[in-house]
Symmetry: C2
DNA sequence: CGTATTTATTAAACTGGTTTAATAAGAAAT
DNA sequence: ATTTCTTATTAAACCAGTTTAATAAATACG
């Protein structure tokens, strides 16, 4: 959703800052210029990392954004972060103004569909070990900048479980 | 995507017929008037049911449709089926014709996003037993019309596993 | 109908994760 | 450098699933 650059405002966050906390309504879309943010919920006391957003990602809590409900999630800066943000109102303005950009919005949602579909397939058809290896291949840099227990959470397993997988792999 | 009804053609399929087989490009969107279709792939010899489409669902292999790649999936009539079908070309015509309907298309994709997001969350956060109970609650009629081993596949477990869950629940 | 086929359950052995707890290793701070 | 705090590994007991195979129940059909 890059639209008119004129709508974007540069913002920075320090490591540990929250771009979003549960209960808030979503007012912005973000483009990640520099840094890393984790998108997670807390389910019965433990954090469940849904995604890591790094350079080049467009992100927000899209689930709450679309439904216009209060977020149940956190967006937390895992490093110092620079984003360009656009307001929901400006996105709507852009859509209202142009059939072309409305289409662009639809096609963006389609790309998101494809990604989510693949994720559902992976969750259903791959083992934890296979998903770990896939992540290692697709986003190797994550392992340099994010603690392993957060990666475990992203993969849907415990830190102990991930450690076992790594051991098993290293023994071969 | 209901658009102009004039674009729709009524089609029927017999139980066991395929609306789609792997290798085919997607030419149609379907609206289920009557019956039940399973959407599945075959992964190393076993079928993986992704979805059951029943009365009121709009469906196709959206993943292949969007990407314009040959399908990897089956759409198989589990019962005699009546659908209304619209061609991809007609959908495109409708989008080209109207900003309003283009927006409708975008909002449809957003609804699909919400559903898929919830599914990812369920796969990550719920146990197999919880997902079984949820399905039982949300779509009880499925259990009357679809064999249990297909429901097991939909839940991402084996028929033996589902049988154990049911036994465990019935013992309480 | 009775027989054949499909579907569901059960048992037994196994597996890849879990939890809890202890320990070790690494990073940050005084 | 030593301490402190965070992160990662390991071990042990456990658990919810798996696979394979046998059996039972339900359904379809000649």
């Amino acid at each position: 959703m890059e639209f008119g650059l004129r709508f974007y405002k540069k913002r920075t966050f320090k490591k540990g800052d929250f771009l979003l906390k549960p209960g808030q309504y979503i007012e912005h879309f973000y483009f990640m210029k520099q840094g890393c943010v984790s998108y997670y919920t807390i389910e019965n006391g433990t954090s469940q990392v849904m995604e890591f957003y790094t350079e080049g990602y467009f992100f927000t809590d899209l689930y709450a954004y679309i439904q216009e409900i209060p977020s149940a999630s956190y967006l937390e800066a895992l490093e110092d972060v620079t984003v360009y943000s656009i307001t929901k109102a400006d996105v709507q303005k852009v859509f209202d103004h142009s059939h072309q950009l409305e289409r662009f919005g639809r096609l963006s949602m389609q790309r998101t569909f494809v990604i989510n579909f693949q994720r559902i397939n992976d969750l259903r058809n791959l083992s934890n070990q296979e998903r770990y290896l896939q992540l290692l291949k697709k986003r190797p840099e994550l392992f340099q900048r994010v603690p392993q227990y957060l990666i475990a959470s992203y993969l849907g397993i415990t830190p102990v479980g991930l450690s076992k997988i790594r051991k098993r792999l290293s023994e071969k």
